[in-house]
């Protein structure tokens, strides 16, 4: 073993107060074992990129964190609340955890502004004027304020994804989950979405991103997690992860995505 590898392997995460703690999490789809003994602790303000081949369970894992998927074994504690069948607790966690989807999932029957104000008004019980003011602030931040009164169907993919990010931010979440946010975009629109995400990271948002954008991982992540066949195979700082991968599976994966 080289020095670098030892140093990388020995490094422990996280370094701050944890906001998400998963211990021994398992999940099955019928007979299929999707998540195997996941231990993951995320500190406040940490920026994590999760990568791995398709079908490795990375989306399933982050979807367990706001219980869009149910885990069958182990414990997940988010913001001090354990995720169980308790609906009230699930709703409490979900208001603190924003999620951005691969296919945006904006509400097509509402305008961009209404998409952003709906949850603050109904879940956070904010007055309409206040919710709108905040929505406009976030829409400005994702540089799409001038489209506020359009419907999602009238926007490009990149614009829709930026609205989806603003919609999540309007709930003032403590954690943001990104589930392949740029995978459904035309190549020329990837950058505008990544720029918004980089801005968020710079502002200290706790983020977990499932993405294949390795450039993004290198420039903003505090930690890169590599998953394969339902397991966390390796996790490290981007520098160590890309320059000194430990396991053969990681090396193979990196060679496949970086050499083309």
């Amino acid at each position: 073993m080289t020095m670098a590898q030892t140093a990388g392997a020995a490094r422990t995460f996280p370094q701050g107060e944890p906001i998400i703690q998963c211990q021994g999490v398992h999940k099955w789809y019928g007979e299929f074992h999707v998540l195997k003994n996941i231990d993951l602790s995320v500190a406040k303000g940490e920026r994590i990129v999760i990568c791995g081949p398709s079908g490795s369970g990375k989306s399933t894992m982050i979807r367990c964190l706001n219980r869009l998927e149910e885990h069958q074994k182990g414990s997940i504690i988010v913001d001090g609340i354990e995720l169980t069948g308790n609906l009230k607790n699930i709703e409490l966690v979900r208001r603190e955890v924003g999620m951005v989807f691969q296919h945006f999932n904006l509400f097509p029957h509402l305008t961009v502004l209404e998409n952003c104000t709906l949850a603050p008004i109904w879940v956070r019980k904010k007055p309409k004027a206040e919710a709108e003011e905040m929505a406009m602030r976030y829409l400005k931040r994702v540089r799409i304020a001038e489209q506020a009164h359009k419907y999602p169907g009238q926007l490009s993919g990149g614009q829709q994804q930026r609205v989806a990010i603003a919609r999540s931010l309007c709930m003032s979440p403590k954690v943001m989950l990104f589930d392949e946010p740029t995978s459904a975009l035309d190549p020329e629109m990837v950058k505008e979405v990544l720029d918004v995400m980089i801005g968020l990271a710079e502002d200290g948002m706790t983020m977990l991103c499932v993405t294949h954008e390795m450039g993004f991982a290198k420039s903003v992540a505090d930690r890169v997690i590599f998953m394969d066949r339902g397991e966390i195979v390796e996790q490290n700082t981007p520098n160590e992860f890309f320059n000194h991968p430990q396991s053969d599976r990681t090396k193979l994966f990196l060679s496949q995505i970086l050499n083309h």
């Binding site: 706001n66 979900r94 999620m99 029957h109 305008t111 169907g153 999540s168």
Partner: protein
């Protein structure tokens, strides 16, 4: 035309616009494209033209040219042939209001006006606010007061005397407006995560949908009283109304379920991920989209139930069709069934066609803007 049309690969746009060839525009081209484009279409066109030529003149002759105008006595009508519109003018009030006391028939007339006004007001999307429900309650209370009477100096009129258009409108409008929310709950229940609610909804829908409406009406009028303790008497009209509501709710629930199934899973997930609870997610995200998709099958059900109210005749209630039939049983006017059925057919058609037209407009309005 000129040599400099193309400069390299750059089109300079100097070809002047020309008119299309004369055989591709104008009435002759239209005829050729639409009526005579193939030999069998040409044949069909000729056949249909011949049928129309055979059918329309006699029809117009009966309807208008040889028709006997209002006031011609029935005996004369019978000799003359041609439509006898006296039947309509003579029997108008009976067909419209049934056996409601003659001097009090302004009351069902006002009822008709109130119900139509309520429906028209509800058609405007700007009025889709919570207070509309209050307007409906007030309107229907007014209708009840007018029809029953017994207060405010109005004489009491038993509901066995009600009939004609107000009865048709009340059965369908009250029936559909109660059945609609019930059907939404049933449709949601059928897709519920809770097994008990799902089983109840499925059982209800399949049970009610599996029997003919006519048998449900019979059951409501004949069998239901058998289960009640003696002395307790449930109003016949109310029983028919409940049977209608139960039946319509089951049918509409299936129309709405179709819409619910068309909503992508991502919409549910996005609503959940934002922390909306079940009713918020359904009320704000899922139902507005699902109902918009369900408009064509829903309106189909609305139209068919509006007409199916005429089945109440089998349990002795006289709706519009019933009063028309009753009018025909008057010995002096026996045999003028064409005039009678044509007249009420036109009334039914006006209502159903308005529903259809409105639904098309609503679909256009709701689709505007939010195309995926």
């Amino acid at each position: 035309m000129t040599d400099n049309v193309h400069t390299g690969n750059i089109h300079t746009g100097s070809i002047p616009d020309e008119r299309p060839p004369s055989n591709t525009v104008g009435p002759v081209a239209w005829l050729r494209n639409n009526l005579f484009n193939t030999w069998y279409n040409a044949l069909l066109t000729i056949l249909i033209a011949w049928l129309l030529f055979k059918a329309i003149p006699p029809l117009l002759d009966w309807l208008i040219f040889s028709a006997n105008s209002f006031g011609t006595p029935p005996q004369v009508c019978r000799q003359e042939g041609g439509a006898c519109w006296t039947f309509v003018s003579e029997k108008l009030r009976f067909v419209m209001f049934g056996t409601f006391p003659y001097d009090e028939q302004w009351r069902p007339l006002v009822t008709i006006v109130i119900i139509i006004a309520l429906v028209l007001a509800s058609c405007d999307r700007r009025f889709w606010k919570p207070w509309l429900a209050l307007v409906w309650i007030a309107g229907l209370t007014a209708v009840g007061v007018l029809m029953w009477g017994g207060v405010l100096g109005l004489t009491y009129v038993e509901n066995t005397l009600w009939g004609g258009l107000p009865l048709t409108l009340m059965l369908s409008v009250v029936g559909l407006s109660v059945a609609f929310p019930a059907s939404v709950l049933l449709a949601l229940g059928r897709r519920s995560q809770l097994p008990a609610i799902r089983v109840i909804s499925v059982t209800y829908i399949e049970l009610i949908r599996g029997v003919p409406l006519i048998s449900l009406l019979f059951m409501a009028s004949v069998m239901f009283p058998l289960f009640l303790p003696t002395g307790v008497n449930f109003d016949k009209l109310l029983r028919a109304q409940i049977a209608f509501i139960m039946f319509a709710a089951a049918y509409m629930a299936e129309a709405i379920r179709g819409g619910l199934q068309a909503i992508p899973k991502g919409q549910y997930e996005a609503a959940d991920a934002l922390g909306l609870n079940y009713w918020q997610a359904m009320g704000k995200i899922i139902l507005p989209q699902a109902l918009a998709i369900s408009i064509p099958p829903l309106v189909n059900t609305f139209i068919s139930f509006f007409k199916d109210t005429s089945l109440v005749i089998i349990i002795g209630l006289y709706d519009l069709l019933g009063t028309a039939k009753a009018a025909l049983s008057d010995p002096a006017w026996r045999g003028f069934y064409r005039e009678a059925y044509l007249f009420i057919g036109v009334i039914y058609w006006v209502f159903c066609y308005s529903m259809s037209k409105y639904s098309q407009k609503l679909e256009r309005d709701l689709r505007r803007g939010h195309r995926r």
